[in-house]
């Protein structure tokens, strides 16, 4: 049981730091949050810089174009990029963090060759078409239908809450290929080009006012059968792989960001005199414990994954549950600190507070995560 990095890992950290120090100043200015094409270009530009420097797909397997880095190196990467104030994955989120890894582990050689390099090079953006109006938590209730037509599937239905749909090139799409099978069995996982005829994207405004996600309507969209990842009607299993990546690793880097914000809150409190308020001060102290522990839990989970070499397990749900709530408490504390200014949308913390509200919903609600912990980790009987 240790927390020390090996000399190779420290060397990796040092070289990354050095690279970040000279690379970040050359980034173009950050586009505004409503400027979708601008955000896409910015995020892809950053990905391209990572690619050129050899940091793209760090944690992906080598035969998928990645660097095959150890989970610890990936952790160091997340820690250092965040500390240096590097951009987030942003529009590359789905491609890099779950569609990519899913194709890497479940796709054919041709599929890997077709889809993975453009994600790594920062050329193509993916989105996730899982949820439907009638299938959110109960994802397997999805109804978007795919009929086989020669070498194509013809797909009709609709998806909702699709993040980045407006600027995506590809969509990891779940469709029902056998409506007569039990609901978990008749599903397939397809890669859908977002410029195919029959797709309509209608942006949805979030409570923060911006259009982060969209509705996607599919009207007889033709998708080649060759775009199916995994066997026909075996999509649920493939989806479980995707979701374990989403829950297992996707939020990890953000813990570092929250720790930084917490430090900023403390300094702000000292500046504006609120540090004398023992209740607030102790609340910040407790949040410090919370985020320190979440970082330790991350290190624990990463070390476990490093030992087994496997896909992150249901333990990701434990992390996601605690983290999503802690993040909301963090921004509630920020609001407490800001006082009347907490109602000013011009304050970053106010916008971040609004966006933190999605963390207990997106990628599986807290209630669903608790079902998973109870049934899959604790082995309690299947719930009512």
């Amino acid at each position: 049981m240790d927390l020390a990095c090996t000399p190779e890992e420290e060397d990796f950290r040092a070289r990354l730091r050095e690279w970040l120090a000279q690379a970040l100043p050359s980034l173009p200015p950050k586009p505004s949050s409503d400027d979708w094409p601008g955000r896409r270009a910015y995020d892809l530009g950053w990905q391209r810089m990572l690619y050129d420097a050899g940091y793209a797909g760090l944690h992906w397997p080598v035969d998928a174009g990645g660097r095959g880095a150890t989970p610890t190196q990936h952790l160091i990467y997340l820690e250092e990029t965040e500390k240096a104030g590097a951009p987030y994955v942003g529009a590359n989120f789905v491609g890099l963090l779950h569609a990519g890894p899913t194709i890497a582990s479940e796709g054919s050689a041709e599929q890997r060759a077709r889809w993975l390099p453009p994600v790594l090079r920062g050329e193509e953006v993916w989105c996730q078409g899982f949820s439907e109006p009638g299938a959110g938590s109960d994802l397997a209730a999805l109804r978007t239908r795919a009929w086989r037509h020669g070498d194509d599937y013809v797909v009709s239905g609709s998806k909702i809450w699709t993040s980045h749909a407006e600027v995506a090139d590809w969509c990891e799409l779940l469709v029902r290929t056998d409506p007569t099978a039990p609901k978990h069995r008749g599903i397939s996982w397809l890669a859908m080009p977002m410029d195919a005829p029959g797709i309509t994207v209608r942006p949805l405004r979030t409570l923060a006012g911006s259009a982060e996600f969209a509705e996607v309507f599919l009207d007889e969209v033709r998708i080649p059968v060759a775009h199916r990842v995994g066997a026909e009607n075996d999509g649920w299993r493939v989806t479980m792989v995707t979701l374990s990546y989403e829950r297992g690793t996707a939020f990890v880097g953000e813990v570092v960001a929250c720790r930084r914000v917490l430090g900023e809150l403390a300094r702000e409190a000292r500046k504006n005199g609120r540090w004398d308020d023992a209740v607030l001060r102790r609340r910040l102290g407790r949040l410090n414990a919370e985020f320190r522990a979440l970082w330790r839990l991350t290190q624990w989970n990463v070390s476990a994954a490093q030992r087994t070499g496997g896909v992150p397990g249901a333990g990701g749900s434990v992390f996601k549950l605690r983290y999503s709530h802690a993040r909301q408490e963090l921004y509630d504390a920020a609001a407490e600190l800001l006082g009347p200014e907490a109602l000013d949308l011009g304050r970053d913390w106010t916008l971040d507070r609004l966006s933190s509200l999605s963390y207990t919903i997106a990628a599986g609600t807290s209630q669903i995560q608790r079902n998973i912990v109870a049934e899959r980790i604790l082995g309690l009987p299947k719930g009512r």
Binding site: G263, L284, A289, Q299
Partner: protein, 299 residues
């Protein structure tokens, strides 16, 4: 970085668990809880000494086992699991300082803030216990004395305070993990409305919350054992205290009326968890320390 138990650490943990299950199982726990005024089992104390429980961190040159804080934390986690009674931490910290502590020949109590656990049964007391008055302890397995508040300042020995806090967190972790197990066992076995209560989502979610608290606390406690950093220890302590106290309460809830009886072990866990929260500076001190740490980190 390999932040997982080593094979040796797994073996040590299993070994301590085996010893404690054999020597302080459920029957012994109940006998101690139900048998009137608590008395220390001196034979068990010496056996713990022989097994190296108290001398675990004492250098081999001084007759100790020569292991480190992580190993001590694993041993104390196991002690916490079974609610092993006695001034375990005080005696462990006295190994090499007070004669007989390392071997379990001597029972050593310590003044901690205004409290002393097990004063009457101790062969030696560290700190100034002058004027100590017995109080009716909430925990039937932890006799308590109060010393006049002016007695001993808590920060008399910062090292002892830090270690007491960390080892207390380890005990809390063990207790929290145990109450989670007890709740899950009960939820699987007890039937209502024609099915195990564990199939009801309300019960499932209570149990899931317990596990989340345990796992977060575990990572924090083990990390603090590795770094011995005061802020890590304070964080570990806050989360372990929370996991133990809330875990015991949720466990009681899952047990229903049964949980409110003396026969059930649940109250023993809750009461011990309460006692432990008072040691070596409690919640307030930890929170204040971690608040200061935020500013210190800002440089």
């Amino acid at each position: 970085m390999d932040f997982q138990l080593t094979d040796d650490q797994e073996a040590l943990k299993a070994g301590v668990r085996e010893l404690l299950t054999a020597r302080f199982g459920h029957a012994e726990l109940r006998a101690a809880a139900d048998g009137g005024p608590p008395a220390l089992d001196r034979a068990l104390w010496r056996e713990l000494g022989e097994a190296g429980f108290f001398a675990l961190r004492l250098p081999e040159a001084d007759g100790g086992v020569g292991l480190g804080l992580p190993e001590a934390v694993l041993a104390f986690e196991e002690a916490g699991r079974v609610l092993l009674p006695g001034p375990l931490i005080a005696t462990h910290l006295a190994a090499g300082v007070v004669d007989g502590a390392a071997t379990g020949e001597a029972v050593v109590a310590a003044v901690d803030g205004v409290h002393v656990e097990w004063l009457d049964q101790a062969d030696a007391v560290r700190g100034d216990a002058a004027g100590a008055q017995p109080l009716r302890s909430v925990d039937p397995l932890t006799p308590l004395h109060r010393v006049p508040a002016a007695g001993v300042p808590l920060e008399a020995d910062p090292e002892a305070v830090l270690l007491t806090s960390l080892l207390t967190a380890a005990e809390q972790l063990g207790g929290a993990a145990r109450t989670c197990e007890l709740a899950v066992q009960h939820a699987r076995a007890r039937k209502q409305f024609g099915q195990p209560i564990g199939a009801f989502q309300a019960v499932q979610h209570l149990c899931a919350r317990m596990l989340v608290r345990v796992e977060v606390a575990r990572a924090a406690v083990y990390a603090a054992a590795v770094t011995a950093d005061p802020a890590d220890v304070a964080a570990a302590r806050l989360l372990a205290d929370e996991a133990a106290v809330r875990g015991a309460r949720d466990c009681l809830q899952v047990h229903g009326g049964m949980g409110f009886t003396w026969e059930s072990d649940v109250h023993l866990h809750l009461k011990r968890a309460w006692i432990r929260t008072q040691r070596a500076g409690g919640t307030t001190e930890c929170e204040e320390m971690l608040a200061d740490d935020l500013l210190a980190g800002a440089g």
